[in-house]
């Protein structure tokens, strides 16, 4: 934006306050640009920088929120921990294999990400619209995908804190012992699971804006069934065909299953694909979801500009 440009006839260079400007008014003067045309033509580097800064900017409120609202420790950490605990006690009462306790603990940790994706990714743009933010996002020069990615990055920081806390506390309290053979693949699967999950959330975000108020019902509809078919608290292989379908369609299901196989090698075959195959499924999901998210966002913006309703508050 600071690129030199040709001064517009009759106009002063915008960044230079005229000699008559009162000293107090100088604060109004921003970055110097010679003309609107110079200010409008950005280099590719400026475009990239703008998009990267926008990601950081949109992630900021979520990261900052961690310290502003400590109530999340109770609602997002202790309460889910109680749910996890109840399954642990059930499995202990049934004398289930020890690895099942670990399955539940990993499932409990991943719940934080799923809730974040559903409530703070998928439904977020809809809330942003009601708040009047969506209009401002579209009126700003960055690619709105940066906003979605920023939301995802902020959400990841928020949820990771919660997930790690649940994982450590539960591991310590219930004495879970992991048997990991392929650290690299486990870490890759974890990262891919998050990428696919947040890509899924980004894709849903535009759909929720287009579908309007039904988004809330959809969010509620999705939460529990996905918990179930993803095998959050039990091995998804037990679900047979439904489990296989979930592995093919739901990133949480395939990611969880792969991580369990890699973190508890001693449990033997689970009746589901090998972890490296599931990693490939996650790669495919990430590419498809993020590609769809980009396309849907663009479609949503075009439709909003045509119809005049989608980005406008309360319409």
């Amino acid at each position: 934006m600071a690129a030199p440009g040709v001064a517009q006839p009759g106009l002063p260079a915008g960044g230079s306050p005229p000699p008559s400007a009162a000293p107090g008014l100088r604060a109004f003067v921003g970055r110097p640009t010679a003309s609107p045309q110079a200010a409008a033509n950005w280099t590719p580097r400026q475009v990239w920088a703008n998009n990267l800064h926008s990601i950081v900017g949109r992630a900021y409120p979520r990261v900052r929120g961690l310290t502003r609202e400590p109530s999340w420790i109770v609602f997002q950490m202790l309460l889910p921990f109680l749910t996890t605990s109840s399954f642990v006690f059930v499995y202990r009462a049934l004398d289930a294999p020890a690895a099942y306790i670990g399955f539940v603990v990993i499932g409990g940790a991943m719940t934080a990400f799923w809730l974040n994706v559903v409530w703070m990714m998928a439904a977020q743009l809809y809330w942003e619209k009601d708040q009047g933010n969506l209009e401002l996002y579209f009126a700003a020069p960055m690619n709105v995908m940066s906003v979605l990615i920023g939301m995802a990055v902020g959400g990841l920081v928020m949820s990771s804190t919660r997930a790690v806390a649940i994982l450590f506390i539960a591991t310590f309290v219930f004495g879970v012992s992991f048997s990991i053979s392929q650290w690299g693949l486990l870490i890759a699967v974890f990262i891919l699971t998050l990428a696919a999950l947040y890509g899924f959330g980004m894709m849903l975000a535009s759909l929720f804006v287009m579908w309007g108020r039904e988004a809330f019902h959809l969010t509620q509809l999705m939460t529990e069934p996905v918990y179930f078919v993803s095998g959050l608290n039990f091995p998804v292989g037990r679900l047979g065909f439904i489990g296989a379908l979930a592995i093919a369609l739901i990133p949480l299901a395939v990611g969880l299953d792969a991580m369990r196989q890699l973190a508890f090698v001693s449990t033997g075959p689970t009746g589901t694909p090998e972890p490296w195959i599931e990693a490939l499924i996650l790669v495919a999901m990430t590419v498809v979801f993020i590609g769809l998210a980009r396309w849907l966002l663009h479609s949503m913006e075009e439709r909003a500009r045509r119809e005049g309703r989608l980005t406008v508050r309360w319409r």
Binding site: A22, Q131, Y137, P141
Partner: protein
């Protein structure tokens, strides 16, 4: 023409916007032609439902016109959106943007990142603007705790983050008390003084605000521009005669005597003056005097001497923009509210109790 050096700041040709609605489509704009020069402070004055906001949405690239073209400094609003978004900004009245969980300074910094400022540059610019708009004491206050006036000042600062070449202000003082509205107007004037050459498009339905701030005004009603001109030019359209308010210490025989003088169209006692023409002596007589032209006033003053009346005060009355609107439309703004309501785009009711998106966690 794309981003031409000689391009007008705003150039709209035949802009029409029709909203699909039931039972029938709503025409919000019906062929708007508008040209705003670089550096001009231009106002769109009209009642609710006139189409002002729809026009701003089109010019800010948020809405496509159903027909016609619009360019900002030569950039097409339909196809060159990105370029336009780099050089413009917008602030609306009653705006509740951002996140209540953030402090004012943080919120502005977040927005600065969307407009191409770097991280450190963003903080520096935010601190400058916070001081400039008079929010120094609230810089570390949560947005959710700011008053309406403070919030609008913060919104104004947000609008200046990218140093826009075109600044769209959509009813910026809507819902503000007198003092806060004045502060916002002073900020607008202060910014213009500091950075001349920037273009402002202001929509308002406050006549005095348009009169005070705008160099030119378009009067809009039901999606059409009825008249464009400077406030003085618009008023001259309805001022075919010279109108004076004349206060006298006394006037024997009443104002009827003045009405018969050459060049006097009418001389009528103002409402607070006694109206009995037979009263021999009156105190502080106030007369609304309508003359064919200013030069007729000399004859009136000479006649008053003969009637033994002395002038206590004399003021020339200017027609207001409301008079202009009434002349053009045949009704006032208030009368128009009801008519406009039937022309509004249907809106869904606000969902009460909607949480702050970032606080819902």
């Amino acid at each position: 023409m794309s981003g031409s050096i000689q391009a007008p700041a705003i150039d709209a040709r035949g802009i029409t916007r029709v909203y699909k609605a039931k039972p029938k489509d709503v025409t919000a704009l019906a062929g708007i032609d508008l040209e705003v020069a670089p550096g001009e402070f231009f106002g769109l004055l009209g009642p609710n439902g006139a189409g002002k906001t729809t026009l701003i949405k089109i010019l800010t690239t948020l809405l496509l016109p159903s027909a016609g073209t619009a360019r900002i400094f030569g950039f097409d609003v339909a196809t060159e959106t990105r370029k336009i978004r780099r050089i413009m900004n917008m602030v609306a009245g009653g705006e509740q943007s951002g996140y209540g969980i953030l402090e004012a300074r943080e919120q502005l910094w977040m927005f600065s990142q969307f407009y191409g400022l770097g991280a450190r540059e963003g903080w520096r610019r935010v601190d400058e603007l916070i001081d400039a708009v008079g929010l120094a004491e609230q810089r570390n206050q949560r947005v959710s705790t700011l008053s309406t006036g403070q919030r609008q000042k913060m919104n104004f600062a947000r609008g200046l983050l990218n140093d826009p070449w075109v600044f769209f202000l959509d009813e910026p003082t809507l819902g503000l008390d007198v003092s806060a509205a004045r502060s916002v107007r002073e900020l607008i004037v202060g910014w213009r003084a500091a950075v001349p050459g920037r273009t402002v498009l202001l929509t308002t339905h406050y006549m005095a605000e348009a009169d005070e701030l705008c160099e030119r005004i378009a009067i809009v009603d039901r999606g059409r521009i009825l008249a464009i001109g400077s406030p003085a030019e618009l008023k001259r359209r309805v001022q075919r005669e010279s109108i004076f308010r004349l206060e006298l210490d006394r006037l024997a025989g009443g104002p009827g005597g003045l009405a018969r003088l050459p060049g006097v169209v009418s001389a009528v006692a103002a409402l607070n003056a006694p109206a009995d023409p037979d009263a021999p002596v009156r105190q502080a007589v106030v007369i609304n005097l309508v003359l064919r032209e200013d030069s007729a006033l000399a004859g009136v003053v000479a006649a008053l001497d003969g009637l033994g009346a002395h002038i206590v005060a004399l003021a020339k009355s200017e027609p207001s923009l409301e008079d202009v609107f009434v002349e053009l439309v045949g009704r006032g703004f208030d009368d128009n509210e009801e008519a406009a309501r039937s022309n509004e785009v249907p809106v869904e009711p606000h969902e009460a109790g909607q949480p702050d998106p970032e606080e819902k966690r």
